[in-house]
């Protein structure tokens, strides 16, 4: 009774504690501490490990490392461009087209996120490797690496563009059509500007992912220098007892990824001011 008859309880409760106890800052503080220990400290250790002239001189002068970094950058760029095209096409078909089994296809898009990368590699090696049932053998070639990276980055652009396409109002396209615009003109003038920011965001995420991908390429790459990408060089350097050089290569990759994400942030900010 006393619990609910507030008229009485209120008076007893009046001396109750203040609204903002000193402990209010402890939670966020613990969160920050946890993040610092889990992420901040290892990354700081990595940076400190690479703070070594010899390590950077190795990155710069070792011909194999340099060619791998160049290859990694360009194949990641190719992946971003290819994904921008296929991802928009996929999103378009999934949003505007209708066919039996569309829902299954839609959930299949997330498969690369759910499937462990090494299994993705194994799967691709089986289909496009030696003894391929369809007679395509790209194992131990750069095309094989491209296939693997396309596989793991497939969802990024599609999943970024899909909601934007869904939110576009058909009225605008109808209005343009009434004004005499051809379908391709409508796509170029009306739809493309609307989905471009999302496409770029997805493509940049695909770029970052391709830049650091490891699990899916180790098997189909065939473990030869010609097909190596950045992560494999790092793993090999660690195995050969050169963690400083590995840290330097790692930082070089991180810087590449951050630069691309930064450029993207600047570009989308300029666009959002338009909108």
């Amino acid at each position: 009774m006393a619990d609910v008859a507030i008229g009485g309880t209120l008076l007893r409760r009046r001396g109750a504690p203040l609204r903002r106890p000193v402990s209010a800052g402890i939670g966020p503080g613990l969160s920050v501490l946890y993040l610092s220990l889990l992420v901040g400290l290892p990354v700081a250790a990595l940076i400190s490990k690479s703070a070594n002239v010899n390590a950077w001189s190795f990155v710069w002068h070792d011909p194999h490392t340099r060619s791998v970094l160049e290859f990694t950058f360009f194949i990641a760029l190719a992946i971003a461009v290819l994904n921008a095209i296929t991802g928009v096409a996929l999103a378009w078909v999934l949003v505007r087209d209708d066919f039996p089994g569309k829902r299954i296809v839609n959930s299949l898009i997330d498969l690369p996120f759910a499937l462990p990368t090494i299994v993705a590699g194994l799967v691709l090696l089986t289909l496009y490797g030696p003894g391929s049932p369809i007679g395509v053998n790209v194992a131990a070639t750069r095309v094989g690496v491209l296939f693997a990276l396309l596989f793991v980055t497939l969802p990024f652009v599609t999943r970024a563009v899909q909601p934007v396409l869904l939110s576009l109002e058909l009225d605008v396209e109808d209005a343009a059509a009434c004004l005499g615009a051809k379908p391709l003109t409508i796509f170029r003038r009306i739809i493309l500007p609307a989905i471009l920011p999302a496409t770029l965001t997805g493509a940049a995420l695909a770029f970052a992912r391709a830049l650091g991908e490891y699990g899916s390429v180790v098997l189909i790459g065939g473990n030869i220098p010609h097909t190596e990408i950045g992560s494999q060089v790092i793993a090999n350097l660690v195995e050969n007892g050169a963690p400083q050089a590995a840290a330097a290569v790692g930082l070089a990759l991180i810087v590449m990824a951050l630069l691309v994400l930064l450029v993207l942030a600047l570009v989308t900010r300029r666009w959002s001011r338009h909108a």
Partner: protein, 324 residues
């Protein structure tokens, strides 16, 4: 349970929501806090509830200082503008929430929730989720939830703002009856002067963070202390440089002692009432007059006629001036 607010100030960045506000609300009364949007009335209510912290000033409930008491210990009921329904709980669980967290005995909770759902006419909808209710039903559920803990003070923030006109009309009458039945002190925030006039014992008009005037609805309507209160509480028009109510203007065909000549521009029939718009000549704003239809017929008024306008009965502003 009486409330005294003393010298309350609150800013959000550069925006001064409240500037040195002091008001009293008497025990057992239904008080309306009335004012335009962004005038600070919701902030005042939220500070009384303990949901917002004032920069300066104190809040006294029944004479004791609660400025530093947490909202959950103030023993108030609060009804949010958008209901703040617990979306993952049924209507029954929503209403029972306050009793459950107070660890009331199960039998007591059951009886009290049942009683409240009856009171707000939602007994049949107890197992539904808020998403399955109409706006008015959700609002009644929010009221039952607030009343469950038997608050001695009930605060409502724009309680009917999001409802359509008809439901709003029903609910406001119902709120008045409810207030009389459960016998609490009630404060509600509104920007609708009709709502405030219709059901409250006392109105506090707040504008730009300041209290403009407080008093009974009649006092505020008949004796507003300034043009803002006068304009906010009812329709106004200008006659001879003074602000007057359109229904306080006397229309005559002959020039009296203080008659302002004007020509009839428009006659708009609104059923029982007819609105007359007259042009007093160059340099003056058109004057609006409210008349009954019968009155128009008696005088046989037509568009283009010359009439004489004077302030009839008790000119509100003059009265205040005399008293002040």
């Amino acid at each position: 349970m009486s409330i005294q607010v003393r010298n309350l100030s609150k800013s959000f960045g550069d925006f001064h929501a409240l500037r040195n506000v002091s008001v009293d609300m008497e025990s057992g009364q239904l008080t309306a806090v009335l004012g335009p949007s962004g005038g600070g009335k919701s902030t005042l209510l939220r500070i009384i509830a303990g949901l917002e912290e004032a920069d300066r000033g104190t809040v006294l409930i029944d004479g004791s200082d609660v400025t530093n008491v947490a909202a959950r210990n103030r023993g108030i009921g609060f009804v949010f503008q958008h209901y703040a329904a617990f979306t993952h709980m049924t209507v029954w669980d929503n209403v029972a929430f306050g009793l459950k967290v107070a660890k009331a005995p199960k039998g007591k909770i059951k009886a009290r929730v049942g009683e409240l759902l009856d009171l707000v006419h939602l007994s049949g909808l107890a197992p539904r989720y808020p998403a399955e209710l109409s706006g008015g039903q959700r609002q009644r559920m929010a009221l039952a939830r607030a009343l469950a803990v038997e608050p001695a003070l009930l605060l409502l923030d724009e309680p009917f703002g999001a409802l359509d006109v008809k439901v709003r009309q029903e609910l406001r009458e119902w709120l008045r009856r409810l207030h009389d039945e459960v016998n609490t002190t009630t404060i509600f925030v509104t920007h609708d002067q009709e709502e405030a006039m219709e059901i409250s014992d006392q109105i506090i008009v707040i504008n730009e963070g300041r209290v403009e005037q407080s008093g009974t609805p009649d006092t505020l309507y008949d004796r507003p202390v300034n043009d803002f209160v006068m304009g906010f509480l009812g329709p106004v028009t200008t006659l001879g440089g003074n602000l007057v109510r359109p229904h306080d203007i006397h229309v005559s065909r002959t020039a009296g002692s203080a008659g302002h000549p004007a020509r009839i521009e428009r006659l708009v029939s609104l059923g029982f009432e007819t609105r007359l718009v007259a042009d007093p000549g160059p340099g003056a704003d058109p004057v609006t007059v409210q008349l009954t239809r019968n009155h128009i017929h008696e005088l046989a008024l037509e568009v283009g006629d010359q009439v004489y306008l004077s302030v009839s009965a008790h000119p509100a502003r003059l009265l205040t001036a005399l008293e002040g």
